[in-house]
Each structure stands twice: as structure tokens, then as C-alpha cells.
Point group: C2
Chain length 582, copies 2
């Protein structure tokens, strides 16, 4: 029987609870958002004792469903004040699911601040270990040894927060190890690492030895679905082995988005970066080949992934510098900061991975700090110095570690490209309107993963629409609903590339869920269930004080034309309000 | 005929406009809030081109009405995001009124940031002078020489922003000279200095030579009213010459509020400060006597004031250190930071006056920074160093210059005693409930001057009620309405001590207005007109995205008992919501 593991950090207790019936078919984001909505007062202080963090693997996580070892981390965000779900692909997810843990609920707060604990989790329950030995350190010095020491040499998976989370900085993510134990997989957005920091939870080590595994209600239905998903993934040009993602990683998007004029450059002053080709996925592949003497294809972040899009960047001597140079991270420190050197970008990403920071928010904060005069655009040396200050917890470091909106406030900068306090990712809404509708209306603040309309607007996946057409309310709504459901399944969002184009694959995804849960959903239920998840999140945000007034892009985007197309943000407010009214 | 002076900082033009009929009977806060509500989009960025700053003298300002040389400064606040009115007593107010200028509207924004201008205003109109010579300086080095140079030796009055406003820090106030030209009179709260900074307006010098003076519709009615107000002020124990305020200044409250257990101490951790008597108004009077060899009674901040409550603090050698050590400033750096040394407090206030900062917000930020570990409580030397950093615009300085909420965010502090982003002043809501209702529900964020229920709750003015009784919705509502009207008249709020106890005085205040305007208001109209002003402000805030969810005190006050009485904040949310529904 599945359980909820409730960790009380005030009393330092952990207990397993039966899963209430209403949560039975939920997983991932659906479950984190439901638990947060049910148990956390929407107006509470995100870093106070009433907030909680929920960690939940998806519905099919831990099974043989391909590319499904993801988990959701939920809570009230200290960055945005909204409900928040951030997810990551990691072996931790599968191990949790195989232990029969449907969700971990972390609650309470020790009376004494700045003391930290590690929770060790096995089939026999949870225990607490003092974390002094692991705090204040670069996560690259924590991840392999922590797993070794606490795991006692067994095959364990690790979650931890870094210095940024310990110091309750609101750009702090929650870090999970990848298959090699690197601190590279982040439930990055929204500062949930700071919430764990406020609760004194430094990390969790999961050992699933002897775990019962995931119960499957109907193996035949499940197996049929699994095969369809696998077939879609192995045949689609974006997701197949040695396809676009496996070869160039997500950074394959750099050249593509730059071409549209929608690659935000120098803190969203321009839409095209003159240095794009030097930092694009193709340049990463070529650079790695030059430095290692061979074709370096990408690897999986978690077990059972067909796409395998996690890349690496290598130093001149051929040794690994960092994993991963994702499109978003590459952009955040590259085009967004006017930096066109992959070694510098890799170092900035490595600093974030080591400190426990969301690269999108931190790169956004760096861009805003550059706007505010703390550093010249393109000055990689100074950028590295500034990020290093976050680890030293200097005032400047703390400012950036609290994200772009706080950085803008401190430096008196008006051009802060965020929504609900969360910085925009690597797509310019003035050049690609649908993604702007998602940014504005998402329950999460500016978040491309909440409704990735880039598929039809740029990539020609699931059809093709004009990115400059402002009539995107319906499109963004559909993508947000489908994504909410997908985030519940435990599948990686990237399966969307395949299953949106290949109808059999989409049906397969639903059949996998039916196989696990014994439900009888059809593909028609995707939008319905997704809408239900969004409704829960939206209601939380409303009770927290958010309204349609907050579903807006920043003023400067309506007034400043964006080169090279020189368009402004012209989606009417009424259209934005239709996304949730419709 | 009265005019509105419209200063466009984008085009650098100034023009006089007729006053639209709907504004004719308005003045002070009534007029600033009406103009802001009519002309500023509520959702605009406070530091962007769409915000405006309105400066308006009160209805009777510039006449012989006693203690009435006040003006209101209004705009959308970069600190709170709400509409904002901050007011000050200064000769500038009377001169503006005598020139027939009912309001100055400062709008637009130069294309080029960080260039500043001085506006010189005479009966012949306005002219622009480059301000390079005056920027980046301590305001103590600006105020007398700027008046001298621009005023050409004439009797002029000056307004300016300091380095904090130039750098668009959201704790930046708008500074006005007192009768001696000291930079001591502040429309401090809400960061309107930053809005002027964002518009490149460094200051205004007003020369009222040859001014027509204020038109009075019915001199007899006016004169009758004026006499009644003067009689009340000269007879009430708090406001009369050599009365409490004239002798001890507003800091006379230190011992009184400390006695109630409502003097917020060490960032609102306690309600009684062991060092209170060392920094109280009585100690200031005694210290000045010891250092100057004589009784130092207080002086007037502006012409025609009977109360004359502006104090000074003197150095050991008998020379003046700073003016004024107001109750709020004394508390903000004293009890709130655990500092019990008047020389240190005076220096911290002087730094704020010199930098152009609101002492309440800056002291609040310092208290929160102490909570966050940037400085020990009580460490005056380090406190002075930190405040000095604001002038150097270091990261730490900028953080504090942006107020307590930003400081809390940066340092990951949960105990931030603010409402709507504005730090609480020197009255603890857990010990004095009515003022907490005002903090929670005021249109301005936490602001004691918005509805000073301390009168009946502590001082026995206008009756006596139990400070610990949570049933204060009606009381706070009445005080907020009366205050909104009083802020429109141009009278100092301190006349309330007298006119609330002496009915003739209250009637006189209304008669003065009738005399100037030709209206036929009675004292029954005070609440009605006040409610109208609040309605305008409340509607602006609602359109800006504020709701009842924002009318709340911080979570920690509901959970942490406050020594010595060990009460928590227990006014029900429903009672708070009644303040504006009733």
C-alpha cells in the first residue's frame, strides 16, 4: 500500500500515513498542489513554520514507463508568494516510488535556526542525522560523499539543498543527483530550496533496497501504453536516440530561437544575440569533440529514459567541466548577460549547481544587476566573481541569490522581466506571443514549462502557428492544461515533442496511468484533469491575494519595441483573462 | 486664481493650468490622492514613466491659520505599490500656497537616466537648472547653499531629494527645509523621493516674492475659525507653549509608550526597552541643558506654528548635532535597534537627514538587518557604519535603503514587522490594538499617522479606551476618516490633541476651511469628506491589485507573545474587514 511520509522538522519525527482516498489517483504536481492547497494557509509566510514542502513522484514513476523518473516538489514559493511546483528527473524519484512513498510532506520548523539535518529513508522508515558535516559546502563536495557515507556503499539516491537554500535565498532550488550522482538535476524554480532551508532539512538519502516496487493494477493495459510511448519516443526526430536532444541537448534551441528574434539578449533589451552560434548546442557538440577527441552524445538523467538529453561541457584538457549546459542555463548566463564564451557559461552554471541555485533566476538576477551597473554586459570575469559572492553570503551575493525582482528593487532597475516575482526564461514574449500568455497567466509566475507553446509557435510540433499572432489565449490554455496532467504522470515534459505529434503515443501515456491506477481515462480526460489541477492552484493563489492584475507582463514590454522585429507586447489584458475564464 | 503647475521631466517643460472645478475645494492629501487616482494607472511601475508625484499645500496653508504650513506629497509608492501620501511642515508649503499653486504635478521621465535638474519657481513661472553641482552630496551641504545660490539671497524655501532618492531607493523621502533651512522636514514615508529620482528632479526652490497670497472667500468666517483653533492650541496641555511637545518634543512619548509595554524593542521582539529613560524626551531636554547651559525649548518647523515641537540635540561642546530627534526617529534607531545612547541615535538620524531617507523605514531596515545577523542589537558603531554605506551605494547600503521588507527578503528574515511592505512605526499592535487596526487597514501600509488611535488608547485624548481591547474597528475607522480630512486642511496632525478635546477648536478648523473656500461644512462633514478621500485611495489600491488579504499584520505577531504582557495579535480578520465595509 502506498503511503505518505510526514517529516516534522520541529519535533524531528517521521511517520508513514495511509493515503487518503481523494489522493489515490494523484501523483506528481497534482498531488503536491493538492496537499499544499489542503494543508498550507495561502497567506502564510513562505519561510515561516506554516509552509510545507511536498515531494511526490509521478503516477507512473518507478515503473518501466520510459522517461518517467520525475518528481514534483511543491510548496508556497518565497520567490513568488504563489503555490509552486518544480520538477526534476532523477533516480531519487524512482526509488521513492518503489518504496511505496506517494509523497513526502516536510513540515514544521525547528525552534533553533541554522541547524540542519539529513533524513535517511529506507524500506524500514526514516531516521535523522545531524548535517553539520555537510552544510556550507559546494554541492560538488557533498553529493558523492554524502551518498557514500550515509548510504553505506549501497545504491542510494540523494536530494540536498546548497548554501543558497541554507541561507533561505529565494532563488534556491532543490538539487537531486543524476545517475552518476552529480548535483545536476534541479527542481529549480521558485525557491523551494529556501523553504527546506527554513525547516533545517539539508537533504534526504533514499535507499530502496528491498522495496516492494510500484503496484500496477492492470499489467496488460500498462504494458500496451508503455510500448506506444516508447515507440513514439524512439521515432520522433527530436526525442529519438542520436536525435536533436540526444546530440545537441536542449541547447539545440539557441540557434533556433535566436533565428526567430525571440532570444532575450542583455536583459531583454534585444531579441537576437550576435554571439548565439558560439554558445549553441552545435557549438557544445563540436567543442566537446575537439576537447575529448570523440563524438560526445548526451546521457540520461534518470533510469529508463529514451531521450537522454543531459549534456556535459569539457575543459580544454578533456575533463568534464559541468553537466548540464541546458538551453535555459546557457541562455541565462549567455545571451541574457551578453556572454558568448562557453567556458565562462559552464563555470557560472557549475557555480549555481554547487551553491544550490536555480540558473534561470540567478542568470536573470545577474542580467538585472548588469542593467543596474553592478557589472558590464559581457564581462564574464566579473560575473563569476559576483556569483561567487552568493556562496560567501555577502550583501551583493544575497541580493542576487534572492532573484531578479529583488535585484531590480535593490538597484532601482525598472526593466525587470518577471511575472509574479519570477524571472522569465529564454523566450521573448514580444517575439513569441503564446509563451507570453503562459508567462502572464501561469499559476507559477513566468514559467515556460507551464505551457510550452513554443511547440507550434516555433518548432512545428503539434501544428504550426504564427509566433507574432497575439491571439493565443486558447493555445496557452490548452498547453497549460495538458502540461498540468503531464506533470502528474511523472513523465518528462520532453515526451510532449513526440506524443503531441504521434497520437498513439499520447494514448499510450494515458494507458500507462490507467494500467497503474486501474482508472479508465481517455485522452479526452487530459484537458479535464489538467484543468482541475490548475483550478486547485489558481484557488490557492487567489486566497493568497493574487488576482488578474498579477496576470500581466511588465510595463516595459508594452512600451519598448524589441529589436530586430521591433514589436511590443500587444496581447490585450482581456485575452489574458480569458485563459482562466474560458 | 489658483493654478496647477505641471512639470514634465521628459520634455523639461512647466506650465500653469487652471484648476478643474472638481478639485476646487480640495487641498493636501485630498488633492494629491485625487490627482494620482485620476492620472496614474494603478498598475504602473512606481519608478517608470507613468507614475507621477503631486505636491499640494493644504486648504488653509499660507493663511494665518495656526500650525497649518503643511503640504502633502503623493504618488504611487515604490515601497508599497499602493497610493501614497506623505506630508511635512515647512515654509515651502506656505510659499507654494501664496503663489496660488494648488498643486505641482511632476510627470514624465527623461530618456537619459541619472541626470538631474533643479526647478526654480517664482511668481513668473518655473525654470530648469542643471543639478550636477548638487547631486551625490550630503543634504546638509545642499540645503543652505542651494537656497542661497538659486534664491539669489532672497527668502526662498527648498525641497530636495538626497543620494537615496537619486539612486531610486524605496526608503527615500522628500526633504524640505525648516525655518532655518535645515534639511529636517520630511515627507518621509513610502519612497516618493525615489519617484522624484526616477524623474530626474533633484529639487525645487520656491521664491514667493510678490505672490498674491491665498484668496479668502469669507474673511470673517475664517478669522472666527482661526481664533478658535489658536485658543485650543494655546490652552491644551500637550500643544500649548512650554507644554509637553514644546518642552520635550514628540520624544516625550518614549517613556509613556514604554510604560504601556508597547514600545517595540529589538525589531519587535519585546514591548519594553530597558534603556528607554536614557533616550526619552526628558533625557533630551536634560542633556541639552547640561551641554548648552540653558533650557532649550523647541522651535517651529514652519511659519505660524503655536505648538513648536521641533527639537534639537547638542554635542558635548554645546553645538547643534541634529534636528529633530522625533519620537519615531528616536525609537527607530533606539529601542528598535537596542541602542540607548542619544549621541549615536542623533548621528543615525543625521545620516538619514543627509542621505534623504525616511528614518522609520531605515531604522526598521536596520532592526531587520540586526535580526538577520548583519549587526548585533545595540551595536551603535556598526549601525553608523551600515548607514554610511547607503550613501556609498554599496550592495548592503542599497539593501537597507530599500527598506525593511527588502532587507528581510535579502537576509531571509521572517520577523519583518510591516504591512503592505511598509515598516511599522513605534507602537506595538500586540500591546495597543487600535493602532494595529490602523496599520492593517490603512491605504498607506503600516502608518500611525493614518489613524492615531493612540490618543484615546494611551494618552487619554478624546476619551480613554483599553489598549488591549481588540474591538477597535470602529475607532480606527473614525480616526482614519478624521485624519484624511485633517491632512486635507494643511493643519499639522498635532492640532488633533487639542481639537479632539476642545470642541470649539474642531469647529474652528472647519470654519477656517469654510472661510477660505466659501463652503458651508460643519463638523459632521469631517467624517463624510474623510471617508470620500479614503474611498478614492482604496479604489486605487484595489485596481493596483490589493485586497483584504493585504489588510493583515505579519504572521509572527499572531504567533509570538510579546513581553512583558505576552499578548499576541488577536483582532479577528473579520473585524479588520469591517473598517472599510462599515
Amino acid at each position: 500500500m502506498d503511503k505518505i511520509l510526514r517529516i516534522d522538522m520541529e519535533k524531528r519525527t517521521a511517520r508513514l500515513e495511509a493515503v487518503p482516498a481523494r489522493y489515490r489517483t494523484m501523483g506528481g504536481r497534482w498531488l503536491t498542489s493538492s496537499l499544499i492547497a489542503d494543508e498550507v494557509p495561502p497567506t502564510c509566510h513562505p519561510l515561516g513554520p506554516l509552509n510545507k514542502v511536498v515531494i511526490a513522484p509521478g503516477i507512473v514513476t518507478g515503473t518501466a514507463a520510459p522517461t518517467s523518473s520525475r518528481l514534483s516538489v511543491g510548496g508556497k514559493s518565497p520567490l513568488t508568494g504563489t503555490i509552486k511546483e518544480a520538477n526534476a528527473g532523477t533516480p531519487f524519484a524512482a526509488k521513492l516510488a518503489r518504496l511505496g512513498i506517494k509523497a513526502i510532506v516536510v513540515e514544521g520548523q525547528p525552534a533553533e535556526a541554522d541547524r540542519f539535518w539529513i533524513v535517511k529513508l529506507t524500506k524500514d522508515g526514516a531516521s535523522f542525522l545531524p548535517a553539520e558535516r555537510w552544510t556550507g559546502k559546494d554541492l560538488h563536495d557533498v553529493f558523492p560523499p554524502l551518498a557514500r557515507e550515509v548510504g553505506g556503499g549501497k545504491d542510494v539516491a540523494t536530494m540536498a539543498i546548497g548554501i543558497a537554500g541554507e541561507a533561505r535565498m529565494s532563488a534556491a532550488g532543490v538539487c537531486f543527483g543524476d545517475l552518476e550522482g552529480r548535483p545536476s538535476r534541479y527542481a529549480g524554480r521558485g525557491g523551494l530550496g529556501a523553504v527546506l532551508g527554513s525547516k533545517g532539512l539539508k537533504g534526504i538519502v533514499v535507499d530502496d533496497a528491498g522495496a516492494p516496487g510500484v503496484e500496477i493494477a492492470d499489467k496488460e493495459v500498462f504494458e500496451g501504453g508503455r510500448r506506444k510511448v516508447a515507440a513514439a519516443l524512439t521515432s520522433h526526430a527530436i526525442t529519438k536516440p542520436k536525435g536533436a536532444l540526444n546530440t545537441y541537448g536542449t541547447a539545440v534551441l539557441v540557434n533556433i530561437i535566436n533565428e526567430t528574434g525571440g532570444l532575450p539578449t542583455r536583459n531583454f533589451r534585444e531579441g537576437r544575440f550576435e554571439g548565439a552560434t558560439k554558445v549553441a548546442g552545435e557549438a557544445i557538440f563540436a567543442g566537446n569533440k575537439e576537447r575529448t577527441g570523440k563524438d560526445v552524445y548526451n546521457h540520461a538523467c534518470s533510469p529508463g529514459c529514451i531521450i537522454q538529453c543531459s549534456n556535459t561541457w569539457h575543459k580544454k584538457d578533456g575533463t568534464e567541466h559541468v553537466s548540464c549546459v541546458e538551453y535555459e542555463s546557457d541562455w541565462a548566463f549567455g545571451a541574457n548577460c551578453g556572454i558568448d564564451d562557453l567556458d565562462t557559461i559552464a563555470e557560472l552554471i557549475r557555480l549555481c549547481n554547487g551553491l544550490g541555485l536555480d540558473t534561470i533566476e540567478t542568470g536573470g538576477a545577474l542580467g538585472v544587476a548588469m542593467e543596474g551597473g553592478a557589472c558590464r554586459f559581457g564581462d564574464g570575469k566579473r560575473a563569476i566573481e559576483i556569483l561567487t559572492e552568493i556562496g560567501k553570503k555577502t550583501a551583493l551575493g544575497r541580493v542576487l541569490g534572492n532573484g531578479a525582482a529583488t535585484t531590480g528593487r535593490v538597484f532601482g532597475v525598472v526593466r525587470v522581466p518577471g511575472v509574479k516575482g519570477q524571472n522569465m526564461p529564454a523566450y521573448e514574449p514580444r517575439a513569441i506571443k503564446g509563451i507570453g500568455v503562459t508567462y502572464a497567466t501561469s499559476t507559477m509566475g513566468a514559467d515556460h514549462t507551464a505551457g510550452y507553446t513554443i511547440c507550434p509557435e516555433v518548432l512545428g510540433v503539434s501544428g504550426k502557428v504564427d509566433p507574432l499572432d497575439p491571439d493565443k489565449a486558447k493555445l496557452a490554455q490548452g498547453f497549460q492544461q495538458a502540461t498540468a496532467f503531464l506533470d502528474a504522470t511523472g513523465h518528462c515534459l520532453f515526451i510532449a515533442f513526440a506524443v503531441l505529434d504521434i497520437a498513439e503515443g499520447l494514448a499510450g501515456m494515458v494507458e500507462e496511468c490507467n494500467g497503474v491506477l486501474g482508472t479508465a481515462w481517455t485522452t479526452d480526460d487530459i484537458a479535464r484533469l489538467g484543468a482541475e489541477i490548475l483550478k486547485i492552484e489558481r484557488a490557492f493563489n487567489k486566497a493568497a491575494g493574487f488576482s488578474e492584475v498579477d496576470d500581466r507582463l511588465p510595463e516595459f514590454m508594452k512600451r519598448e519595441p524589441l529589436p530586430p522585429h521591433n514589436g511590443v507586447w500587444d496581447v490585450p489584458d482581456k485575452a489574458l483573462d480569458r485563459v482562466y475564464r474560458a
